[in-house]
Symmetry: C2
Subunit: 328 residues, 2 copies
């Protein structure tokens, strides 16, 4: 049985060189530094690892998927730079965010530059042009959807939306890029359309589970590990499937009123945030969310059961389980 965390570490080490090789010493140097900061700083590297693994799982030459892996990681980091700017967040991975360190204009441009670089890299993929085009299509569709998902996230802020809207939002803002990485790797590996489609669906489901678990960590995680203040999502009124479940499940109107009074209250104390969490726990909302995340991951794994056994397939399964079983 593969230990996804250890395997990811090994793959990160292998991908680190390529990830750090595409942004050279062009002018202007402040833009280059700003563009490099996030992708060079690390992270879980789940998306690039997935692109490489799916290529291998369909019997392809994994080295050919490495540039795509880098491109997807750059796109992920471009969205992080713009996200941090939009959210006004000041720290990421222990460093100043780009708009804090370099100013707003450079944050906008560093995101744009990483996005452009990702496409330059994909254009140069060492595969027949038809396969390059197919992989590029998945990636372009994903970035279009990403922008839509992030806008939905902005629009949802402070709103109680339905579970359906919540799932559509996290699908667009999180799953589609996982799915593009997975499909792209399979395409580069030479997979047929049906296999690409199944692998794409695997990653879409995995991404949903991943984001649901991320939301869980946001209220129940270990702050010292996640780097996120546990009360923040509650104070921001972030509408997760825990919140939507609680809203529709709390029977006592007084408790419901109390819960709604804390949610989205930027001045809520730590005690109040803890109380909101307790209310969700008592309403079964946290167990519900974890169960839903588990279900998505089970769906993901079922989608790829037809693939022949291999270390890469095993890693794909381990990665799906890791998405909902991690402390950061």
């Amino acid at each position: 049985m593969i230990d996804a965390k250890e395997y990811l570490k090994k793959m990160s080490a292998e991908l680190d060189g390529p990830i750090k090789s595409y942004i050279g010493d062009e002018e202007p140097s402040n833009l280059m530094e700003a563009s490099r900061q996030y992708p060079y700083a690390g992270g879980k590297r789940m998306r690039p690892a997935m692109a490489v693994a799916t290529c291998g799982a369909v019997g392809g030459d994994k080295s050919k998927a490495v540039p795509l892996a880098v491109a997807v990681e750059y796109i992920h980091n471009f969205t992080l730079i713009h996200d941090d700017l939009m959210d006004g967040d000041s720290k990421r991975r222990g460093m100043d965010t780009i708009h804090v360190g370099y100013g707003m204009p450079t944050a906008v441009l560093a995101g744009d530059a990483l996005f452009a670089k990702a496409y330059q890299i994909i254009c140069d993929l060492d595969v027949p042009a038809e396969r390059m085009r197919a992989a590029m299509k998945y990636v372009s569709d994903a970035v279009w959807d990403l922008a839509r998902g992030q806008q939905m996230d902005v629009n949802n802020e402070g709103q109680i939306v339905s579970e359906e809207v919540y799932i559509e939002t996290i699908k667009l803002k999180t799953s589609v890029l996982f799915a593009a990485a997975a499909a792209g790797g399979a395409i580069i590996g030479g997979a047929d359309d049906a296999t690409v489609k199944a692998i794409n669906e695997y990653a879409l489901e995995l991404g949903l589970g991943f984001q649901m678990f991320d939301d869980y960590l946001g209220i129940a995680g270990d702050e010292s590990k996640t780097g996120k203040s546990v009360g923040n999502d509650i104070r921001k009124g972030k509408c997760t499937c825990m919140v939507t479940h609680a809203i529709r499940s709390i029977k006592d109107p007084k408790v419901l009123e109390e819960f709604k009074g804390i949610l989205g209250n930027m001045d809520a104390t730590d005690e109040q945030c803890a109380r909101a969490k307790q209310i969700m726990q008592e309403a079964g909302s946290i167990d519900y969310a974890l169960g839903l995340a588990r279900q998505k991951v089970d769906n993901a794994i079922a989608k790829i059961s037809f693939l022949p056994e291999s270390e890469d397939k095993e890693f794909m399964i381990a990665l799906a389980n890791f998405a909902i079983n991690r402390d950061v």
Copy 2:
């Protein structure tokens, strides 16, 4: 002899339908509206017209270049949205800029979305994948350079840079996208590498002339037509080739001091701005800049002299002349 302005109007009318056909009624509606606003509102449409004309000038089927034309126009508008945000500009084409109308996060995302949409469109070009890849490469390289050029522009603000740095900056922030449109159109039209290269160089030179003339309009244009306040570039201390020429040409130290005192002074009066303009005029800087712009356009036209005579070639020449002979 083709009248470029009239011809552009005719082409704009033909391109308007395609330009307005790619952003549908997906969710969320505020992002769709924000993404549509600039490209749907009009503009000179020089870049898309160029993509179509170069395709025709090499004997290609011009209808196949239309999607690329749209993609390039979207990319141009994506950079305008981000530019307006970075510059804090509040009006464009008589309307509120996107960050003013929709807020900063939506301006960031609308730009990103237009960028992604452009790539979706290019992926679907109705040409062999190898040609799609070649066109895509020009476009991706251009956007990478664009971000660099815009960052240089930010870095140059309030600085006196050399003419060399000025030209490198406008090449990156303006010419490369013209050049990608031109090269892309020629590639779609089936041109060989040498022809694509020559057409690319034509548009690079044209773009330089265009931007130099744009800077001229910025201090000498008719405000009621350009929509730009004539003193603004002087108050912002924008380093144009008129400014660099003046700085190196003004003999009288007192006049030089007076000039430097007005340049970059956000509180400069209209009279002071007019005086700065007069100083540049007396130093021959305005004539110098216009001469340089003329030279670039002559270079541009010379690059495509080898093309067989056609209406499209004639338009390419007219467009180059129009770049430095327009009131808006």
